[in-house]
Symmetry: none
Subunit: 143 residues, 2 copies
Amino acid sequence: MLIGEYEHSLDAKGRLIMPAKIREDIGEKFIITKGLDGCLFGFSQTEWTNFEEKLKTLPLTNKNARDFVRFFLSGAIECEIDKQGRFLIASNLREYSSLEKEAVIIGVGTRIEIWNKEKWKAYNSDENISADAIAENMTMLGI
Amino acid sequence: MLIGEYEHSLDAKGRLIMPAKIREDIGEKFIITKGLDGCLFGFSQTEWTNFEEKLKTLPLTNKNARDFVRFFLSGAIECEIDKQGRFLIASNLREYSSLEKEAVIIGVGTRIEIWNKEKWKAYNSDENISADAIAENMTMLGI
DNA sequence: ATGTTCATATTCACCGATAAGCACTTTGTT
DNA sequence: AACAAAGTGCTTATCGGTGAATATGAACAT
């Protein structure tokens, strides 16, 4: 289970440290792709195949579904973590997610997400995560 | 059942003593997350896996669900209690809950809560938790 | 009251993870 | 061939996390 929030910075070549606590869960080789809300998604190999399976079940007759599948598959790249714990983020993905220097990596259960730090902070101060909304969701789930 | 209120202080590295009476209930490894009202939640592993199971059922395509899952999982970290009974609170969680020196740990049935002492006092002197208000809510709940 | 034990507080030292800079290699372009 | 750009790998310094040692204080028994 991938959890936690970690701040690190890209080096001049666009490489990022994979937090030590995530490294063993996600594996030496993993997949990153364009994510939702302006971040990047990262999947371990097994989670990626799960995800692909789900995409396959979508009806190709539906334009929305076709767009959705294209979005995720076209942006996907396999990454490898080097001896020093870093991985390179392809330039098109860096551009998509506005990653330049300061980044935040978060674990979200089955995947990680990579955010531009500023965007992450903005997202968190947004009303989309108000205490009320969270409390409401908690009771809905019976927590 | 987790109960009681305990005051302790963080050391220079951000570690906190787990009160002896809570230690055996919560286990050697447990999970802390961002909580509501500016405190942190702490769950035993069994309570946490229940929670995780529920989160897994939420749909990726729903923004509300994404927000909710992100809040709890990105804010979560597994903690281990060391030989001296202490555990480290990750810096982002310390920041979130304004924990610097004096802290209060309370047991709340299925979870513990960790508060900045000042915040805890302020919260308790608030009128929202006057004995009268609580009694009123109790009758509403049919107690 | 005194001593004993257990829990908590405080300080210090060490080690590993990370940041940052640099050099070398590869690839593609002119 | 020469160069620029991108990718890969190494080295060093720093900082945060971790464990050990010691001090303080409360609870309890004699």
